[in-house]
């Protein structure tokens, strides 16, 4: 199954990079958000590490919606979804493949957001890099697990971006709060608080929704219109 998931992810990545608009839109919108929020900085003042963390994760959440809309829209043309469903690949391979592709695209867009946060919002990484990376990967897994499950909800809908945002954003709150707090710890020059509970929360979120996704994805990804 993993081989088929990898094939699915590779196909999605190739299509996204060659012709898809999801990644470009995600990067542009995220950059724009970070720049626009930098306008809230008073002249000569600073943006607090927590506000910077919140802006970064807000940009990532919008990026997630655009990336997964694009990943699921790819198969809307020419009945490709029905083709995948009738292939011998188990439907879970589609979920894992979409998740992997989404994770790669989200990480690429965050590679742009992170320097933008440093430049526009005046942040430095004072905390340990391992914490920043662990938060980034852990929280991203939580985001893509939900994105890969619910991205299929709005397939065939005209206003899919807005529909998906309205549904996904409140669900993501635990993982976004954890990401914001841990990033604030990394950006802050003050001594760090305890990150363990927040990392545990991210792990619990990832595990719970990975399980739920495995069980529920076959119901949402179907041939029905």
């Amino acid at each position: 199954m993993l081989k088929r998931s990898a094939a699915m992810a590779a196909k999605d990545l190739r299509l996204s990079i060659s012709g898809g608009q999801g990644l470009v839109q995600a990067v542009l919108l995220g950059l724009l958000l970070i720049f626009l929020f930098s306008l809230s900085k008073p002249l000569g003042g600073v943006i607090t590490p927590q506000a910077a963390g919140a802006i970064f994760w807000l940009a990532s959440a919008f990026g997630l919606v655009l990336v997964f809309n694009d990943l699921f829209a790819i198969e809307e043309a020419n009945g490709a979804r029905v083709g995948i469903l009738s292939s011998p690949a188990p439907v879970h391979a589609v979920w894992v493949g979409k998740g992997l592709a989404g994770l790669c695209l989200l990480l690429v867009s965050q590679l742009v957001f992170l320097p933008a946060t440093a430049a526009f919002l005046g942040q430095n990484v004072y905390g340990p890099w391992w914490l920043l990376l662990a938060t980034l990967i852990g929280a991203d897994i939580g985001l893509v697990v939900i994105g890969a499950l619910l991205g299929a909800l709005s397939q065939g809908q005209a206003a899919r971006e807005s529909l998906l945002s309205v549904i996904v954003f409140p669900l993501l709150l635990p993982v976004l709060l954890a990401g914001i707090t841990l990033f604030a710890m990394c950006f802050s020059p003050e001594p760090m608080g305890e990150p363990d509970s927040w990392l545990g929360l991210i792990l619990a979120f990832d595990a719970l929704f990975a399980g739920a996704g495995l069980f529920l994805f076959p119901f949402v990804y179907s041939g029905e219109e």
Partner: protein
């Protein structure tokens, strides 16, 4: 008939509840404004009960594929959002009078607000144009995911910072027995209102489904 009995019982219980609020329960230290609590608490509890009904109905729909469960989930979500809205409004008014702020960061408040957002989104999904079976399926999936999220949202909000009078809403220590009686009467009265509304809405949705099926048949004929 069942709805009529429930509605009549609800009317009597609501009157009794109002009597108890104003004439039976003692005035709390914070003054008469605390009486909002007697309506705030039942709204929150029955909102939570509605969301639990959405979860259970959604699970049952996935396993049995009976449209009745989908209708029950839809009706419960509508009632849940209604009761959660009332709970948020009454809570906000009470907080303003009691603490001087319309909104404070408290795990319970935050969880209620996030649940309101999630289930309002669920209702938006229910009203989007989609095939009937597909819509029922995706709504069932969202109904399950939404309820699974609740404990995590509560825990996250608690970690985020609970520098607020967490015990105030519970008031377990300083409550006179008459206050408890009023609370339980309120829970029962609102429960009857909730039951009558849920049953009515489920029946309305069943009638709607029957009419839609007849219309489709007519068009085909």
């Amino acid at each position: 008939m069942m709805v009529k009995i429930l509605a009549a019982a609800a009317a009597v219980a609501l009157l009794a509840h109002q009597y108890m609020i104003w004439f039976y329960a003692p005035v709390a230290q914070s003054g008469p404004v605390q009486k909002i609590f007697y309506m705030h608490l039942p709204c929150s509890w029955w909102a939570l009960a509605s969301f639990f009904v959405v979860f259970v109905s959604s699970l049952l729909y996935l396993f049995r594929r009976d449209p009745a469960y989908d209708r029950a989930a839809g009706a419960a979500a509508e009632l849940g959002v209604l009761f959660a809205t009332l709970s948020l409004i009454t809570g906000s008014v009470w907080a303003r009078a009691e603490w001087g702020h319309w909104w404070v960061w408290d795990p319970k408040l935050t969880t209620s607000l996030i649940m309101w957002y999630v289930y309002a989104g669920y209702l938006v999904l229910r009203s989007t144009p989609m095939g009937r079976e597909r819509k029922a399926l995706v709504c069932a999936v969202l109904g399950i995911v939404a309820f699974l999220d609740v404990p995590l949202v509560f825990f996250a909000a608690k970690l985020w910072g609970s520098a607020h009078p967490d015990g105030v809403a519970r008031e377990s220590s300083g409550m006179a027995p008459r206050m408890w009686h009023t609370i339980f009467t309120g829970l029962a009265a609102f429960g009857l209102v909730w039951g009558a509304m849920l049953l009515t809405r489920v029946r309305q949705l069943a009638t709607l489904a029957r009419l839609e099926a007849m219309l489709v048949w007519d068009e085909e004929a």
